[in-house]
Symmetry: C3
Subunit: 347 residues, 3 copies
């Protein structure tokens, strides 16, 4: 694709094209990082990027930039093709989306897929070899079920969703439109519910269901449990990374993002747009307000008000935590100073 | 099922029925949470529950309660059907167990299951499509092996155990009676044993085995490794949640419970009835005494005496940790006060 | 195998045989721990081992020891067969390697494996039942692909590698020679890349690839993501335990070791020989120098210089962290002392 065609396309996108220079109007085929991109590749820099030096020597055919004078001046000096955007990262994402060839694999139900009785399958569906679809499950149009996926009975998967190899969907789970379930994820498995008795743990039957709303992604090897009663629900547009645990009865709002190895205990509730960084834990039945951001390894034991940015364990405001953490390093000096003062004052 | 039939059943259970009111003797079909239950559903409240308001407006047909005057008085005022128990949560679990239809799927070995030579299979066993059972493995009576499960060679699985889709059992693993291995769990894989040498890591062969005693549950995507020599052993009645790592040579007592994302390093030993909350870590060869409770994210580096409740990292007594954590938030003030005192005393 | 044959073998190994006593020259068949080994088993003790008492009463037929007078004197007194090495653990690993029977399972492509068009398969390859190899993938000689493995299209796996049951390899991943991918691991899946927009998260296509160099092991249920552009690369000889997350674009050096539940965020770089203990987290784009050791649960947010040993969160030097942690326990006393001093000085 020629750069001018790309510009036409991006001008209709959401990244907000500000200014550009067609230059040699190079043909580009794919994307690359600023330091490794080739002349037939497009690259990008973000606002405040530390890679200005790399820009000077980059061999990329086209570079997408923020509207920053210094960067544009370097680009001009190099004489390369460039374009400036309000959101150059988004422009790059839109570009890669355009450049990436669509999956043109023939949509077919592999003869070695196992389809049980009462299954309904929409139009233009692909079901891979050795995939298994249990009794009375429903697969919407345009879905792609990769090899080795196991779908238990009475599951419904709405149109346009993709299930990657070897993931497992348990009974009565409902998955919305245009979702992606990544490899080896498990959705709808029994919640961890046991009642202590004098004879040991008595199992609480997990009779509820998991509901995954539209445009949700669930990462590889992540697990989303169903509850004893009611439902576990993942709000529309929420993105979940790999190795995340969502306990039974958790409800998340729309557009949340959870990085890898996050764990959310049973009954917790997340508002809309909550962002949890890697290895964060959220306790049982805790309520996390809209737009909360929790930094990595944070442990949230108590409700968090909307819009808060929290850190540490137990979680406190990020600003306070940064200050406390920097003092933590001085604890030996604090203890020593205190000892000296005590000796001094007791004299 | 009519409420009076349920009462007859629960009276023989372990939840200790104290008092009840049959009312309209409604027919109930399933369970629901106190705020969402319908007239054909049963719900419950625990001792000290914060959901008293929800009880007033609940539409549940039957409510199981603790023996608390205020709650019973609300129930009486509503005129609904209710019963009070010493352990209402257990009563609810027993009720759901009764109401949940038994799996009546025909027990059969699917024609597309792969059964290798020398495999012994008991009576009334179900083996799903594309499941694989390796040479000389033994599957006890009444076991259910779901689709896509891979059982390597020389594995033994005792009667009544259930293996969910796509879990993997490695060679020579022994699984007891009435266990549940959840989807994508891996049991009996090679422990992480490498010896540093001048040529890099030299692999320690993992020639031991994993033994899972009776009534154990192992959560989705959890991993239990076999050791170099000897065994890794999970004590009877122990319940393990999703995404838990049990290292090579770990021995756990009976009736332990480990929440999601717990990690136990090689050679650690847990006593009976140990409870580890989410994301807890236990170090190499550490001994954790009977009945120890470790709160979430706790890091246990050294032996813990029986009955202790520990928190934090490195783990200390929960009481002390709570106090220390509350002072941690004050570190900036502590540092400031100290500075002022020093200035004052040095004048 | 007779002990004298073992000695001949180990003398050519890397554990550095120092001294030995043939004694009855027992025949040994396998390994055991010092407290449980039988007369037909070999056991070992490490330098500074706390198991001296166990040595006195051990029934092991042969014991491999460090060159420590006390231990050798006990062995002599017992009159058993023993040998002393510079690295007795390595000697034990070499012994187990020798004693462990080689996998002699016939190398065959199971008739129920699915091999798509354009796949190239080397000599002496085993592909298990229900394994799936996608279009144009390449499987090198002597590889073992266990049942249920799913290999997407355009993957290359070099000679001598083993892929355990139900692991998944995504498109265009390159796996080197003599690697082991354990059960349910996922390699080459889409990185977690989403750009925030006013309409929610916009997906950054993940067009890069994952490269696994030679002699790498990747643990059960671990996940290694591919990046938007460029590559994620695991250096030769690196060993990765279970449930580890390697984010998109991470580059690790050679001979690293990562224990269970480690998480490495996107774009981070590890030098050679980095050791990360259990549950460690490494932040986005952080650079960790050669030979760094991070203790368990450590959170690395900023670059770490080569050779450092770090602990805590945020990570600081291990020595300092040990001191700070011990003072953390005294925070209530520190606060109390400060209060008293303030009262005193304000009088």
């Amino acid at each position: 694709m020629r750069f001018n065609e790309l510009i036409t396309y991006l001008n209709k996108g959401n990244a907000k094209l500000i200014e550009f220079h067609i230059g040699d109007n190079p043909e580009i085929f794919s994307g690359g990082s600023i330091d490794k991109a080739l002349p037939e590749q497009v690259s990008f820099l973000e606002k405040g990027s530390p890679y200005k030096k790399e820009l000077s020597v980059s061999k990329a055919g086209v570079i997408l930039l923020p509207k920053e004078e210094e960067l544009i001046s370097i680009a001009k000096q190099k004489g390369i093709s460039w374009a400036a955007f309000k959101d150059p990262r988004l422009a790059f994402a839109e570009t890669l989306t355009l450049l990436t060839p669509k999956n043109t694999a023939p949509k077919e139900i592999h003869p070695k897929a196992i389809i049980k009785e009462g299954v309904q399958i929409g139009k233009n569906v692909s079901i891979g070899a050795n995939a298994y679809v249990g009794e009375n499950s429903i697969i919407g149009s345009d879905c792609i079920i990769h090899p080795g996926v196991v779908i238990y009975e009475k599951v419904s998967i709405s149109k346009g969703s993709e299930l990657h190899a070897n993931c497992v969907i348990h009974p009565s789970t409902a998955i919305g439109e245009n979702c992606v379930i990544h490899s080896n994820a498990v959705v709808g498995s029994e919640g961890f519910g046991f009642v202590p008795t004098s004879n040991g743990w008595f199992k609480m039957p997990q009779t509820g269901v998991v509901v995954i709303e539209d445009y949700v992604e669930i990462g590889c090897n992540s697990t989303i449990d169903r509850p004893a009663v009611g439902e576990t629900r993942i709000g529309a547009g929420t993105k979940i990374d790999n190795l995340v645990q969502i306990g039974h009865g958790v409800i998340t709002g729309k557009g949340c993002a959870m990085a890898s190895q996050v764990g959310i205990a049973g009954g917790a509730q997340l508002g809309d747009g909550v962002i949890l960084a890697g290895q964060v834990g959220v306790g049982n039945r805790v309520k996390v307000g809209d737009g909360v951001i929790a930094s990595s390894k944070c442990g949230i034991h108590a409700d968090i008000q909307p819009g808060e940015v929290v850190s540490g364990f137990p979680a406190i405001s990020n600003r306070l935590w940064l200050r406390c953490s920097s003092h933590f390093k001085n604890l030996p000096e604090i203890a020593k100073a205190l000892k000296e003062i005590k000796r001094h004052t007791s004299q």
